[in-house]
């Protein structure tokens, strides 16, 4: 049904496809550190090649009850439910920043437990609902 020329073109294409896919896979794998947008507290904890002077990002949930504010600085803890890291930030956090919700902090590590941020981003999940629905969900819980 398929002519010989067509068949050979299909074979060439399939071969090129598989080759390019494998190349892209390995490129992405080796660039992984740069492709991820942030590290979790556990990844920071396990990381062996951290330099305390380079800019990195840490992300996770804001631990409930961990926020403390004074005049200029806000301190809070980022947790991934396995490990934690304390973050300190000078400035105003985004509107969506709140305890129990996602956050990404960009800055420098003081040590494996303490992070000084110069930028805070709020991360939200993929759930969308009206306020009434959210209220009735949390009431039924």
């Amino acid at each position: 049904m398929l002519g010989r020329k067509v068949k050979s073109r299909i074979y060439v294409l399939v071969f090129l496809f598989i080759t390019v896919a494998i190349i892209i896979f390995f490129v992405l794998k080796s660039l992984e550190e740069n492709v991820v947008y942030f590290f979790s507290p556990t990844e920071i904890y396990n990381k062996t090649d951290i330099s305390f002077n380079q800019k990195i990002r840490v992300g996770g949930l804001v631990k409930e009850g961990s926020t403390s504010k004074n005049e200029t600085t806000i301190n809070f803890t980022i947790t991934d439910l396995k490990n934690e890291i304390i973050v300190s930030y000078n400035g105003m956090v985004p509107n969506l920043f709140s305890e129990g919700k996602g956050v990404v902090a960009e800055g420098k590590l003081r040590d494996k437990k303490y992070f000084v941020a110069d930028k805070i981003m709020a991360k939200h999940d993929e759930n969308y609902m009206p306020p009434e629905v959210s209220k009735s969900l949390s009431e039924s819980n």
Partner: protein, 235 residues
Amino acid sequence: MLKFFFPNRIISLNNKIISGLIIVMVLTIFVGTIFSLIISPPDYIQGDSVRIMYVHVPSSFIAIGCFSFIGAASILNLVFKLKFVSLMAKSIAPIGCIFSLVSIVTGSLWGKPTWGVWWAWDARLTSMIILFSFYLAYIFTWKFVEHFEKANKITSIIAILGLFNLPVIKYSVYWWSTLHQPSSITLTSAPTIHYTMLIPLIIMFFGMIVYSFIIFLMKYKTEIMKIKSNKKNNK
């Protein structure tokens, strides 16, 4: 149905059909806008800034969908050497390109009040910029390469290379940690969007698809007519 896209039939596409589609599109977008801006509720976390979603999400889907079509058409063209399939791909590229730009801009406008930043070089956002670049490369190659067959070959290769970016866009939010959240609408699980917000989203999606189809038809007819008039002139 498919025969309609063959060159000889598309010329017969009269303005009545396009006018009809335009009416459908205007009504749909009008209803969708009323739903999006007024009838639908604010989000429990984001408030009213969620309403950008009704433009951002459909644009993103259309941008990726159009490029999938271009990639598939390019494969068909390289394997079976079907000229009109290349012309279809050429005709759908500009609208896909515009929607990828709309996706990026509306996403940025959405990011500022929610994430706190206009932009972040995470995998999802970066791969969308890459998609936009592929669109530009594809369109400009058709524009600036004189010889049709040469342009056809180069654009087909650009499109097929760009195909590899599409799964990266889709799965970026699962493969790596990103600022952008995972998908709310998937093929395999229930949507995580409440129905009061899902309905305007679907309406806007439908309206924008009809719009893309109209633009595609108009461009495709022009392309076919160009080829036919070139043939006539060369005789």
